[in-house]
Amino acid sequence: MNYRIDRIILILFLMFTGAVAFVPYLVQSEYQLRVVTVVVLWVGIAGCWNMMSGYTGYIDFGPVVYFGIGSYVVAIAMTKYSVPFFPSLFLSGCISAFVAFLVGIPTLRLRGAYFAIATFAFAEAMKQITLEFDRTFNVSFFQGSDGITLPISNYENSFFFYCILPVTFLVVFTHYFIEHSKFGYALKAIKEAESAAEISGVNTTANKLVAYVMSAFFLGLFGAIEAYWITYITPSDVFNVQKTVQMVIMTLLGGMGTFLGPVVGATFLTLISETLGAQFVEYYLIMIGAIIIVAILIMPSGIIGGLKIRKKLRFI
């Protein structure tokens, strides 16, 4: 019964993604296209955080670091080595994933707040490294606080929309895969009771590491696409802790460890920020803060999380 609902949701999701693909032909202005692109981008970014923290319960407070690494890899590859965009993009994902692999081995041993602190510290450290590296070693590589200007493309917004949509689609689809796989049961078991998972045969370290590396891979892609889109990056922008906070809030609003949580949370938050931001320039942040507080109070498990409990749905 629930499995059938679940299939229906997947089909609806595929149809919805298909429909979204036509947005560039339907919008009335570049502004509208930009908003939709930002929504799709944030659905994907929030999804990356959910993939790791939502399912394993390990609160990563430095995911932005992999976004930032992606931005810098694409910028350096394109400007310093004249690598074309798509190979650079792929390289961004791979290097982010590789760094996550190295960082994950020691940090994923830490539990609870210690993991959050370690990941947060690592993200801040990367920001400082990109800021100070050139001055310290007297080179011109990361270009410190001056930032890097990427080659200006002739591409329109729709090009970036079509870069982001498939990656976001993959992220959400990965969630669907997690929900139905052996891997997903390992992650959920780790979240519920890690030592019980361990004695039931779950290789906890390996499974956590895979989730962490996957999430970093996709974050690297998003970082790279956004860097090419806005064409100018600085350490304080791409490693901004604000981005981490946004991922966390969007996922919490939608529902942690749910398939559709980041989709709903990111769409909701991006759209209300846009609408309120346009109308109440001065107060909109306060209003958004209030909305978030009310939403969390009414629905502690998030929009989808709450629905899941109330309707006894297993996989959404």
């Binding site: 959920k188 519920e192 361990e198 045969g201």
Partner: protein, 245 residues
């Protein structure tokens, strides 16, 4: 055939020697009872065997393989599973899914065969009516059975049961005993830690007794209950209830 062997296993927590030079072996198809007062080191010994703790000294062999210091998931896949005294179900999952985790990961199975195995184990321990309930919402006696089911589903041939019948009423204990016999008859070896003497005496082929971390006796059930040291350390007050039973 020996399925589990402990050689001079010791475990120290700082100055406290929770387990001291304990040696014993478990034969295949055997039920070994383990008794001893609270704090004797039974749970700690189990945790050393499955790899939650690395013993301070000594060696542990599971199915002939040296597992000393190995991680629990590896020991589990070599063939040893445990139910915990402090139950830890995956509360956000259904009973079925809890057991499925054991089959998928401990048993290294694919989804299809693992689901099939899960159904069988659920049938074996009589959890059918709870299969699709969330494990956080089931009563304690059912949770005890769930712990057992999850351990069986890993396919391990050795099961360590740490006070798996604590809190059960006499009727539930009888049911649990029947289940244990079925498990034994399916070819598994068990170590059963229980305080209820009726259970230990009724089901064990042999019994070992721990006190202050050391093994103070080992033998057939009737030998052990007549052992002076055991009566002094543990059975003293329990013997009367045993004679009634």
């Amino acid at each position: 055939m020996t399925s589990l062997e402990c050689k001079k296993v010791s475990m120290k927590f700082g100055a406290l020697a929770a387990v001291q030079m304990v040696s014993f072996s478990l034969n295949s198809g055997e039920i070994l009872g383990m008794i001893g007062p609270n704090g004797a080191g039974k749970t700690t010994l189990f945790n050393c065997v499955i790899g939650v703790y690395r013993p301070t000294s000594g060696k542990i062999y599971v199915n002939g393989i040296d597992v000393t210091g190995m991680k629990p998931h590896k020991v589990c896949r070599i063939g040893l599973a445990k139910t915990s005294q402090i139950m830890e179900p995956f509360t956000g999952m259904t009973v079925f899914e809890n057991v499925l985790v054991g089959a998928l990961h401990g048993g290294r199975m694919k989804m299809g065969p693992a689901s099939y195995k899960t159904e069988q184990v659920i049938e074996l321990v009589g959890l059918n009516e709870y299969a699709y309930k969330l494990s956080g919402s089931i009563p304690v006696p059912v949770r005890r059975r769930l712990e057992l089911a999850r351990a069986i589903a890993t396919g391990a041939n050795i099961l360590l049961l740490d006070e798996n019948m604590a809190g059960l009423n006499p009727h539930e204990i009888d049911e649990a005993l029947e289940i244990l016999k079925k498990i034994r008859d399916s070819g598994k070896s068990l170590i059963v830690v229980e305080h209820i003497m009726r259970v230990v005496m009724g089901i064990s082929d042999r019994i070992i007794v721990l006190n202050y971390g050391s093994k103070i006796a080992e033998g057939l059930p009737e030998e052990v209950v007549n052992n002076e040291a055991v009566i002094k350390a543990y059975l003293g007050e329990k013997l009367s209830s045993l004679k009634v039973a």
